[in-house]
């Protein structure tokens, strides 16, 4: 057990990779065995994530030096800088890994029925596992170049999966946009890594944070990193690819792409808080993040109101919900060097923002999966062509209602818990922010109510006479996320204490991250 915990950071990444390499061999022989392998690998990874998270909650952060004679030997003996690649896992990383594990397990189970009629399933599952491995790799690594490599794995797998159903005209377009944006973002990150390497001859995040001078070159690198991650997570001026890619991807993949964009959000937080930390001009950078957040929130939701394609509508909501997270974190960043403000509302804002990530991954994932269920039975994404489906697809309708209530922040739901935290804390920082956030929330409710009426209510259409409930495995995929939402709605305090708050502490505590790598010298 102890050895399992010690090696769990790398096993979480290596097991999906190993399974992905095995699938082309196993899938040719036996399709059942392949399905079992996919689900078993992801379930085992989920188990590892939980024991790792538990260990880190009680014992503090963990390092894993790859290829060294001992996993805690971050720096070679008699030397002063790390040479090997180091995985560094703290509560923020495990928080993100929990999201990825849940979402990919739900997506894999949902896919079992969802893509059963398609060809190329072996490759579909290979890429799904690689996408999951890419996200885990991004979240657990402590090395900038390694972050870039795993970002590319996630991007390429995501783009290929977006274009999975090649018979439709617009899938290749969506995938092309996704890969172009991802490549530009990745190359900008690589350029920033080069700038760091030129000055400090280091690529390790903790070691770089220790010697960070915040020179002109560092500022250019910061701008490159922030723009690149904003591109990947579809912050507003750079969001045009997002609805196109999300709407054409198979529903289970859209859910994974949402999780992948949160992995980039995590990378952005890591950059701002851990890599630069207090040497930034905090107020300026904080306000830039807040303004990005406000723009994303407002423009995302206003665009969503006019959509008639159900997945495009949800994609725009995705942009708008990302705004809330940026908001919470931006407020925290702006007051990072002001202990009084940080304690009175900064930490609360960050808790809200981080709690919102996991809430959003759950309910946004659920909503995309219900949209996929509608598409699976009706063959269309156009809301105007649907109607009266509530009787035929009872469970899907119930799941949709749960997701919609949660995303709009109606009181007992988990969405309400995180939004309330955000409203209260951002109001103390600047009232306008809280007001915009509330307006966005109301518009979200309006838009989802409209979508509900056009899809599920109204007269039953003759062409959907034959429609029935979706297969069991799709129901099971959605049920995993529903259970998560209900649990989070019932015990929001517990989730904040056990997940969100430790993650916030981990982000704020730059010194702990540095000394995890550099030992006593941090």
């Amino acid at each position: 057990m102890h050895a399992l915990v010690t090696h769990s950071p790398i096993l979480i990444i290596a097991i999906p990779l190993l399974a992905a390499f095995l699938i082309p061999l196993i899938g040719r022989a036996n399709e059942k065995a392949r399905d079992v392998l996919v689900v078993a690998a992801l379930a085992f990874v989920g188990f590892l994530v939980i024991i790792l998270a538990k260990d880190i909650y009680f014992n503090g952060l963990r390092v894993y030096t790859l290829g060294a004679s001992s996993s805690i030997l971050t720096i070679p003996e008699h030397y002063m800088v790390p040479v090997r690649i180091i995985l560094e896992v703290d509560s923020m990383s495990t928080f993100m890994a929990i999201i990825t594990a849940t979402v990919s397990l739900a997506a894999a189970i949902y896919s079992l029925a969802f893509v059963r009629e398609e060809t190329g399933q072996n490759r579909f599952y290979t890429l799904l596992l690689l996408l999951a491995a890419g996200m885990f790799g991004m979240e657990l690594t402590g090395d900038l170049f390694n972050l870039f490599v795993f970002l590319e794995i996630a991007s390429i797998a995501g783009a290929a999966l977006t274009a999975f159903r090649t018979r439709f005209a617009d899938t290749a377009e969506g995938g092309f946009k996704y890969i172009v944006i991802s490549s530009i973002a990745a190359l900008m990150i690589l350029l920033a890594i080069g700038l760091f390497y030129a000055q400090y001859n280091l690529i390790n995040i903790g070691a770089l944070a220790q010697v960070m001078q915040y020179t002109m070159l560092d500022k250019i690198a910061l701008a490159l990193l922030v723009i690149a991650f904003m591109m990947k997570l579809a912050g507003v001026p750079l969001h045009m690819w997002c609805p196109d890619a999300y709407s054409v991807a198979p529903a289970s993949i859209t859910v994974m792409l949402v999780a992948a964009s949160y992995a980039c959000l995590y990378a952005l937080f890591r950059t701002c808080f851990t890599l630069y930390g207090v040497c930034l001009n905090l107020v300026t950078v904080g306000w830039i993040v807040i303004i990005f957040g406000l723009l994303s929130m407002f423009i995302g939701v206003t665009m969503a109101v006019f959509q008639s394609d159900i997945k495009r509508l949800m994609a725009y909501h995705c942009i708008s919900q990302t705004g809330y997270m940026l908001l919470g974190i931006g407020v925290g960043l702006a007051v990072l060097d002001n202990p009084e403000a940080l304690n009175s509302y900064g930490i609360a804002a960050m808790n809200g923002g981080i709690f919102h990530i996991i809430n959003n991954a759950l309910y946004k994932g659920l909503l995309f999966l219900t949209a996929g269920a509608l598409f699976y039975r009706t063959g269309t994404r156009d809301l105007n062509k649907m109607g009266g489906l509530a009787h035929k697809m009872k469970w899907t309708a119930i799941f949709y209602i749960i997701g919609a209530l949660s995303i709009s922040g109606i009181p007992p739901s988990n969405g309400f818990a995180s939004k309330l935290l955000l409203y209260e804390s951002t109001y103390q920082f600047h009232p306008v922010i809280a007001i915009v956030a509330m307006i966005t929330s109301i518009l979200t409710l309006a838009s989802f109510t409209k979508a509900f009426y056009s899809a599920f209510m109204g007269a039953e259409l003759p062409e959907y006479e034959e429609v029935k409930e979706v297969p069991k495995s799709m129901m099971a995929g959605m049920a995993i996320l529903v259970v998560g939402i209900i649990f989070f709605s019932l015990f929001p305090g517990l989730v904040i204490d056990w997940l969100a708050h430790p993650a916030t502490e981990a982000l704020i505590n730059q010194g702990a991250y540095i000394s995890g790598i550099m030992g006593g010298m941090g």
Binding site: E152, A163, A172, I184, L191, I193, G194, I203
Partner: protein, 117 residues
Amino acid sequence: MEGIPFNIPFLAVAAMIGIAFYIIVSQRNLIKLVMGLSILASGVNLFLITLGYREGGIAPVYTHAPTERMVLPIPQALTLTSIVIAVACLALMLSMVVHIYRHTGDIDAEKSRQMKG
């Protein structure tokens, strides 16, 4: 580089990346867009490899090495990785362009809806 007032190799990198970004934002032809991305990747690779150069150094291989002064090995490894990544991206992008062409009969970004890189 005594005698040269500024870093010509790094300026070449800046020029390559600038040209690449110009191509990416100005061209409508998808193949040209992909070419722009390829130039961008080459520019970044050139940047990484120039970072590791040490005046008068040889390749860091000890087999039959004449001197002890070697250039830095890590940027070469990083460049190798990023070249392979660029190739992989290129292959996938081109196959998507082929699909777009099959469906729309055109590789112009303006004509196939609102394509923008």
